[in-house]
Subunit: 337 residues, 2 copies
Amino acid sequence: MSNIRDVAQLAGVSVATVSRALQQPDLVSLKTRTKVLSAVKQLGYKPNLMAVRFRSGKTRNLVVLVPTVANVFFARVISGMQQAAHDKGYSLLLCNTLADEAMEQSYARMVHTSQADGLIQLRAHNPFAQLEMKTGSVLPMVNACEVLDRIACPTVLLDNRAAACAMTEHLLQLGHKRIAMIKGPARSPLTRDRVAGYRDALDAAGVAFDESLLYPGDFTLQSGHKAATELLALAKPPTAVFCENDEMAIGAIQGIKQAGLSVPGDVSVAGFDDISFAAFSDPPLTTIAQPAEEFGSTAVSLLIDLLDGRLGKAPKVILPFDLIQRASTGPAPAVSD
Amino acid sequence: MSNIRDVAQLAGVSVATVSRALQQPDLVSLKTRTKVLSAVKQLGYKPNLMAVRFRSGKTRNLVVLVPTVANVFFARVISGMQQAAHDKGYSLLLCNTLADEAMEQSYARMVHTSQADGLIQLRAHNPFAQLEMKTGSVLPMVNACEVLDRIACPTVLLDNRAAACAMTEHLLQLGHKRIAMIKGPARSPLTRDRVAGYRDALDAAGVAFDESLLYPGDFTLQSGHKAATELLALAKPPTAVFCENDEMAIGAIQGIKQAGLSVPGDVSVAGFDDISFAAFSDPPLTTIAQPAEEFGSTAVSLLIDLLDGRLGKAPKVILPFDLIQRASTGPAPAVSD
DNA sequence: CTTATAAATGTTATCGGTTACATCAATATC
DNA sequence: GATATTGATGTAACCGATAACATTTATAAG
C-alpha cells in the first residue's frame, strides 16, 4: 500500500503539499496540484483513513443497538439509518443485541474505546445510566422509536399514545366493546404509552377497562398466536384484538382461524407498524403505518448534530403515523355482549 | 480522556511498562503490575483502539454488503454474522446496497482505505472483478448464499440445484405436471442454479419443460403476487407454483386466492428460505429451510481465516437444506392438464 | 530597484499506542 | 568474586496523516 510519502516523493514535493493538494486544493498551485494528482493516480494512492481518524479523534462510526434485526420494522429503520449515515460520511456498526445486556454494554463501550463516536438505540431497556455514571464521561446517544424515561437524550419517536388511541377508536366505532390488546413486555415505555392510548379511547367511549383483555407478548409471530388462542379461551372472549406490532397480529390471525373463527367476521384484528407482510396477510391487516426509514435517518441526523455540538437541549422529534384500514377489521358481530 | 502516558505517570513507570502490564502481564513484576492496574482504574483509562488499529494496520472491521436488510432471510444471516464477528473481536460495517452499484463500490473501497479488513457479500452481482483489477491489490472477500462465477473466492452456500430439484420432485410426486417457477432476476447465478434443479427434476420425471411457466420476480411480496396473477391467466395455467423465496410465495398465495382459487386445492405453492412468516401464512407454506444464521457465522469465520492466512484455496462450504412440508402443497387437482 | 505582502511550499511535532533495542539489576554458574 | 544469564524496565522509533510554524518564491507597491 502506497502512502503519502510515496506520493510526495514521486511528485517531487513534500508530504504537506500532497495533503493540501488533496484537502485544500486552492492552497496549491495548479502545476503542483497536477503533479500530485498524477502521482496519486499512478500509485493508486488511497489515504489511510485509519490514520486520519486516529489523528482527528473522530471515528466516523456510529454504533446501532437493535433488539433484533429479524424484526421487519427494525430492518426498515436500519435501512434508513444506513442511507443517511452513508450520505454524511459515517458508517454503522451494527449490534443485534438479542436482549443480551452484556452484548449491549460491550458495544456501548466502543464509544469509550474510540471505535465509534456515538450510539443509537432502538427500544431502550435503559441500562446506560449506569454506564455513564461509571465512566464519568457522557455517552453521545440518540434514542429512536421508544422514549427513554430516565435519561434526557435526543429522541425520535411516534406519538404512540395517540396512535394507539386512534386505532382503538377505530375499533370502537365498528361497534366493538370487548377489545383485547396484545401488548409488549410490561416494563417497556413503548407498551406503557400504547396501553395508555388504548385506555384513553376506552375511557372517552365509556367502555370499562378489563385487565384480563391485556395480554403481554414479545413481538413475535408465535407470541401473537399464543396470545390470541388464550384470549379466545376466556369466558368472555374479545371481538377485536389490537396488537402492538404486525408480527403478533399475523400470529393472532392464524390463532383465531385455527380456533374456527373468522377474521373479521368473528374477531377483528389490528396491528402496528405496517410491515410489508401486513398487506399480504389473509385478510390484509389494518394497522398503523410508521415512517420507519425516516426514524432511522432522523436518528442519524440527530446523532451527528449532537456530535457536532449543533444540538440544543435534547430535542424530541415526533413523526406522524397513519391508520391504514384494510380488511382485518370490521363491524362487531351482532350478538356481541 | 486519559491516555497511556497519564497512566504511566501516575503509576511512576514508563509507557512501555504500562503497555506490557496490559498486553503481556507475565513480562511485568507483580508489584508494578498492581501499581499500573490501580492507576488504570483510578483514571478510568481505556486504550484508544483507533490508535492500536492504526499502528497494527488491522481495523477489525468487516464490511457486509446486503442487497436489502428488509429481506427476512438476510436479516437472519446478518444476525448470525454479528454474533460470530463479536465473538472474534470484529465489528460489522453494514451496507444495505439496494442494488445500487455505486453504493457497493463505495463500501468495497472501505477495505482499500483501511476502514475495514475484508468484505462479505450476499447475492453477488459480480462487480468486484473490475474493482480488483483497478487497484491491483486483492480484496479479501467471502461470498455467501450465492456463488460468484467469475471470481474464485471462499464461499458458503447451499446446494441450490439439489434443493430446487428436491422441491420440484415433491410437487411431481403430488401429481403435478404443470409446475411454474417464480424465479429471481435472470442473470443471477442463484436463479440459474435453482432453475437447473427444477429442470433436473422435470427431466427425471419425463415432464416437458415449458418456458412460459418460468416467471422472473424480484424476491418481493408484490412480485410474487403479480407473477401468480399472470401465470393463472395463461391458457394452460399451472397447478403448482414453486417460488424462489418465501416472500414471493406468500405474495403468490394471495394472488391465487384473489383469483378465486384455493391453495392447495387448485394450486399448490412452495417457497424457499423458511422465514418466520412461512409457518404463519394461510395455508402454512411448504418450503426449503436454510440454516440462515449459520450462513452468516460461517462467512465470518471464513473471512477471518482468510485474513489470517489460515485458508487454502478458496474453499466452498456447502450447508444442508431441509424440505419442510406444510399445508400449501397438496395433490394435483383431478382434472389437471 | 527595494521593500512589503501574499502565495506556495517545506520542516517537523503530533495523535496514542506498540515494540525493537538499550539498560540495569538480580540471580546463577564456575 | 568475576562473568554469564535471566528478568524487569526504560528510551525512542514508528505507523500515516495533518497542521502549526518556518521558509522560500512570486507579486505588488513605493
